[in-house]
Point group: C2
Chain length 309, copies 2
């Protein structure tokens, strides 16, 4: 099993990526790590942190895609960047997964175009973990990859989210809900109204109906489906909530669970290989969690289970 | 100045409505109150709480619209309900404002059909107060009246919200933003992309660009505009946050500000007369704040300023 890691992505690269690798290996992680990045910067750090040479292969990538570069253009123009090379290795079977805390847009563009969607998948999607007030976790998707959605897409997100919740989050029979304004069938905007009957008829999911904004943080549903516009706003609101409680020194276990570093990153669902996108501010722990997630995604074969063929 | 009050609306009616009136009068409130409700229930309570007969007129309404009744049907069939009579009094100039903590849908239907939109207003809207982390407050709209919106509607919401923020919230030059996913012009879903240039060209507002989900609770904008689907989900999420922090005994001044009872109710913007809709769980303080808000809306003439004519 080979996991590709972009060593140049994120605000604290490559140091925090190296720390994450250190944590991963210390925890008994056994996947071979294929690292892309500037050799002159990365190798001394790996050695300094005692990463054994047998644990990794370092592939030199002389270019870096900046956090604020235009994704499509950057990927096209910087073929020797750590992200472009990382995707190339994944697409050609040299690695089994790829993760990065770098330019999110470039990671999404790479996922969509360097790889390919699974058979029958209309649009890949990204999700986020939502910490529920009772200690459990839910999955919300889409959170920004698809800002305008069709009902058929939401129906597929429900199925992909359900597979992910079962296989990766370990929820045996995930309760799938449509995020909506109003509880009854027939409520909501045109998209929600048209999506409801599709979800109801979907044999691959356990659909429980609508949930509202007030249910997002409660243990009502395990998988919540919405368009990427709505989902992204909820995701960023939740992230800011964590920041605010920290600034105000509101220390409580519940808000600590809004620390997205705990979850390590966002997988792209519905594509041929596992790709995990980390937050720009990822530290060692986040990298460690991203590697662990990628590993689990590989050995469970979760992506292949999402094929609609 | 005459303020109409539905005495039968809300989970704790009519007792908490009476308490709210008591608080209002104790605070020196001088508007004449026109109360609609079941005389046999309401009059003894008014007397028991020492509300002077000179302060109010009680209009008997033998019917009640339940919290879960179908709004349009209920309003049509229950012409003798406290809400239907309340709207009739308002529409015929017997009162200058109307407020209720009853069936939200019926209050909205009444606002749209018993009253009329202001000249040039495509669609009335409802808003909510968002408590910012620095102690200030922002206005978010629409929060559920218009689940599917057109760019021209969002543009009008921006103007109406701006008038409301200036006139009622006392913000001299409200910063108006488009709630979006991404900071730059051109980002977002199709609705946001088409709305941005309209807001930019709107001479009646001080448009500052996009804000993201992470900015909602920060002091970035005074007025945030979005479709009613997105807004309603944010509103209900914020409400649930207050509930969760209470349940978990996370006591902090910041979360106390998410107690929507403090804000007393939601005004319907863009119609001919002030209408304030309270939460079903409104207690005395909420009713008091609703009456005070209605009074301020009358004497500032805020609704007339929203005319697009």
């Amino acid at each position: 099993m080979k996991i590709g890691i972009d060593m140049m992505g994120g605000d604290f690269a490559p140091l925090e990526a190296v720390k994450g690798i250190q944590q991963y290996l210390a925890g008994g992680g056994a996947a071979h790590l294929v690292l892309t990045g500037n050799e002159d910067l990365v190798r001394p750090l790996l050695e300094k942190h005692g990463i054994p040479a047998s644990a990794y292969t370092l592939v030199h990538a002389p270019q870096v895609i900046d956090m604020h570069e235009h994704p499509t253009r950057a990927l096209k123009e910087k073929q020797q960047s750590s992200i472009a090379i990382g995707f190339h290795l994944l697409a050609t079977g040299k690695t089994d997964a790829f993760l990065s805390a770098g330019n999110t847009g470039a990671m999404l563009v790479g996922s969509l175009y360097a790889l390919r969607p699974l058979e029958g998948v209309l649009r890949p999607t990204i999700s986020t973990i939502i910490p529920k007030e009772n200690g459990s976790t839910g999955l919300l998707l889409d959170v920004g990859l698809n800002s305008d959605c069709k009902p058929e897409q939401l129906n597929q997100f429900a199925r992909m989210g359900s597979v992910y919740a079962r296989t990766i989050l370990g929820i045996e029979k995930p309760r799938v809900a449509l995020l909506n304004i109003g509880e009854e069938e027939g409520k909501g905007n045109l998209l929600a109204q048209a999506t409801y009957p599709l979800l109801k008829a979907n044999e691959h999911i356990h659909f429980i109906g609508n949930v509202e904004g007030r249910d997002v943080l409660l243990d009502k549903a395990d998988v919540m489906v919405c368009d990427g516009f709505t989902g992204n706003i909820i995701l960023k609101l939740a992230e800011s909530l964590y920041e605010i409680t920290r600034q105000k020194h509101i220390d409580h276990e519940y808000f600590e669970r809004f620390n997205f570093e705990n979850y390590g990153g966002t997988p792209v669902l519905g594509i041929s290989h596992p790709v995990v996108i980390g937050h720009g501010i990822s530290r060692g722990t986040a990298f460690h969690n991203m590697i662990t997630l990628a590993q689990k995604m590989i050995y469970t074969g979760v992506m292949q289970q999402m094929s609609m063929g």
